[in-house]
Symmetry: C3
Subunit: 139 residues, 3 copies
Amino acid sequence: MWMQKEISLKPRSRGFHLITEEIERAIGEPGQIRTGLLSVFIKHTSASLTINENADPTVRADFESFFNRAVPEDEPYYQHVFEGSDDLPAHLKSSILGPSVQIPITDGRLNMGTWQGVYLCEHRNHGGSRNIVVTVHGE
Amino acid sequence: MWMQKEISLKPRSRGFHLITEEIERAIGEPGQIRTGLLSVFIKHTSASLTINENADPTVRADFESFFNRAVPEDEPYYQHVFEGSDDLPAHLKSSILGPSVQIPITDGRLNMGTWQGVYLCEHRNHGGSRNIVVTVHGE
Amino acid sequence: MWMQKEISLKPRSRGFHLITEEIERAIGEPGQIRTGLLSVFIKHTSASLTINENADPTVRADFESFFNRAVPEDEPYYQHVFEGSDDLPAHLKSSILGPSVQIPITDGRLNMGTWQGVYLCEHRNHGGSRNIVVTVHGE
């Protein structure tokens, strides 16, 4: 059985944001597929998806601080600069973190750990709405 | 056809560890599914999974050395510090490396390259036992 | 429905290269599977796959420049040095970027964003031909 839905996430500020609930709403009643996999794919090259701690918001703030230092803006050797200082670093961060997550479905529910949540990683200053494709398949 | 199993890995020291055989044992006889995909998902935010060289153990030692330098402990700008110096870096490393791997199944076997193996990346000093969900689907 | 094909990519120079068209040729007529997922897996530990901007080639040039700085060669603490200066950094880069990509299939086509393409990330100076496994499943 396959279910697939493309949704637009509301615009977020630059940084890391929990979107687990929006994904769960997109797929609706979880019980139809008992055993399977959920795949979420972001259709952009300057934002990304990852899974990390869903509780303390300082983790998400520290992610933004760390990645801004690890992938600095305005390096003199960057050639792709015409879309703004935040653009090329956004491309780099999006490939380091990746455009998709895969999560097992067990007994009709997302089988993540207690402290896991899905992050939208918004790497642009004004990224606007982001589109994701949620695919569920299983039996 | 779907097969799914959740297993607990024995506690490992901080560092990078080959777990290919444990995954193969979890899924049992490989021949039932001829063509498909294996997905392995770790249910934690301070450990991760990756695929890399399965032979020379100095590669895994160098991974630990490199990531400790790339994601240092005790940076003055970290806010999430109350769980210990190794905690926030562990969250960052786990998102850089990622919580899951996907491997094709061909002719009833994991179709990895000769030198590829699955690593458990243990980023905490005392991470304890880690739970992974192994999902196989195919025909 | 499952389709799986292993193909050899022609040798590329060290750097980042668009291979979307080679993947599309490998899977042939896209219309057979209307809704599903495409998975691409690289069978090597010193090359990797990612998804990023498919237009301006300076993005790919900047990726090479950035990752060479982020993962330098000849660090004095590296132990795995006998395969050349480019080898251990290649292993590290390949785990940071990852060995696989997953892309949704919608209405019989790869459902990527307008600006997304699949990159072969060749991290060795002379990596030679690289083998990838393309798996499509859906309905």
